[in-house]
């Protein structure tokens, strides 16, 4: 064999072997979303089949009927929730969006303009922007500015680590200039749990980002810049009582990192998308559904957030909530399926629309209840 050929073979062998020694997180990031792994659960039809097939609970609608809540109806719209797309710099194991760096679905400027045009025709007080990492959408800042200019309260659902990206160096300042409320995900105050759910090193970045937000005035006493945290369980169990775990977070984050925040919201993990994959793979699916159903709370069911939310997808389609959006379950009203269809007259119909429900809804009605604003009952 020629020396040159031999050398080339050796180099390619070394190159192959060096892939084996890449850090695990790097290999994982080559395809962590269900979609990129071609997992059958990337199909919402498959997810809905799994949810319908469970033997662990009564069909959700029957449970609602037993407490005289069927059919569930909206009671008005006070939250205009815009999901600007699935792109994210993280790939959390419990993500209900199946978001990640490889996802390309994102809201265009045209659709963002339709959102603002519709919003301007309403008096909905709160605009809740989510994703993916919503800040990575090129139209995010325009949406925040426009909604703020319309006098609406704007919420940014932030994964924290996005604040440290070089391209987002001025993000914290932008959000504080706009007086946007930040609702930031931090599942636990210890690194083992946070990193198990959100990826290696995410806890440390989250802590650094929270300290940055505190420095620009977020979460400080006497400041009108609101910083709320979201805790969700790192596994197949229900969240702790909101006030109890808020007190734990407050004590631990202040003691170890000097971090202050306003409130902590507990959110139950939804049995859909990547969390559903975890449940099935770990053999916890039936047990978790049973746990949710056994903890069904009629008071929480009466207060679920879909009753006062309109959820808008990256493509402008309308849903009852972000979870229905991820299961491709549109609003029931055939006449208003897209944000371009929303007029003041049609909004009246949406305000008392029948909500589309399924077994995944047990996630919002268990225990003290769960919503994007935390527990529903105290």
């Amino acid at each position: 064999m020629q020396d040159a050929e031999k050398g080339a073979q050796q180099r390619s062998r070394i190159a192959f072997l060096s892939i084996l020694s890449w850090p695990i997180p790097l290999l994982k990031h080559m395809g962590l979303t269900l979609l990129s792994r071609r997992n059958p659960l990337a199909s919402t039809e498959r997810q809905l089949e799994v949810l319908a097939e469970t033997k662990a609970c009564l069909p959700f609608d029957e449970r609602l009927a037993a407490v005289s809540l069927a059919p569930l109806r909206a009671t008005g719209i006070t939250v205009f929730q815009i999901n600007v797309g699935k792109l994210c710099n993280q790939t959390c194991r419990h993500c209900h969006v199946d978001a990640g760096p490889d996802r390309e679905e994102r809201m265009t400027r045209e659709t963002a303009e339709l959102c603002i045009r519709a919003l301007a025709q309403t008096d909905i007080p709160t605009v809740d922007i989510t994703g993916g990492a919503p800040e990575l959408n090129p139209n995010f800042r325009w949406l925040v500015e426009q909604a703020t200019a319309l006098g609406r309260h704007v919420i940014d659902r932030c994964n924290l680590s996005v604040l440290l990206l070089p391209s987002q160096a001025d993000l914290a300042q932008f959000l504080s200039d706009q007086h946007a409320e930040i609702i930031a995900s931090l599942p636990y105050f210890r690194p083992v749990q946070t990193n198990a759910q959100r990826g290696d090193g995410v806890h440390e970045k989250s802590i650094e980002a929270l300290q940055l937000l505190n420095r620009v005035g977020y979460g400080q006493e006497g400041s009108d810049l609101t910083l709320n945290l979201v805790h969700n369980p790192v596994g197949a169990f229900l969240p702790a009582k909101q006030e109890a775990i808020e007190a734990q977070f407050r004590r631990e984050l202040l003691r170890h990192h000097g971090i202050r925040f306003n409130h902590l919201y507990t959110i139950t993990n939804m049995p859909i998308s990547r969390f559903l994959e975890f449940l099935l793979e770990s053999g916890n699916y039936e047990g978790y559904m049973e746990r949710l159903a056994n903890a069904f709370n009629p008071a929480a069911a009466a207060g679920v957030m879909c009753r006062y939310t309109l959820s808008i997808g990256w493509d402008g389609n309308l849903y009852d909530c972000d979870f229905n959006q991820m299961l491709s379950l549109p609003v029931a009203d055939q006449a208003v399926r897209h944000i371009r269809d929303v007029t003041p007259a049609r909004l009246v119909g949406l305000q008392n629309r029948i909500i589309v429900t399924g077994n995944h809804c047990y996630g919002c009605t268990a225990g003290a209840g769960s919503s994007c604003g935390g527990a529903v009952t105290s």
Partner: protein, 110 residues
């Protein structure tokens, strides 16, 4: 029956009310009151229960209170320490009886 302990039996605990409902109701009322928030938090009580579950080596209690501890906001590190507390007290309980051994041997020995 291939084993005395069956995980599904945990869910049959309430069957114990069938033999004597009045005693069962009294027990459950007391049990609920014990675990309610008081001078100790629900989280602290669940950690104590986990330690005791290991001391009495009850697999049903270990199953139930491992989940309960997580759902009260505790983490594996705290729960491991609770099990070590049970272990230390059980070990210490054996060791302190060594004094009785010494008393006996001292009496019998020259």
């Amino acid at each position: 029956m291939d084993t005395y302990y069956h995980p599904p039996d945990l869910h049959k605990f309430a069957d114990m009310g069938k033999g004597n409902k009045e005693l069962w109701d009294k027990f459950m009322s007391y049990y609920s009151a014990v675990f309610a928030e008081g001078a100790l938090t629900e989280r602290e009580k669940a950690l104590i229960a986990l330690g005791v579950a290991h001391a009495v080596q009850c697999p049903y209690c270990i199953d139930a209170y491992s989940q309960a501890c997580l759902e009260k906001g505790s983490n594996t590190e705290e729960m491991t320490e609770a099990v070590h507390v049970a272990c230390a007290i059980r070990g210490g309980a054996s060791l302190i009886h060594g004094v009785q051994m010494r008393n006996v041997t001292d009496k019998l020995s020259m």
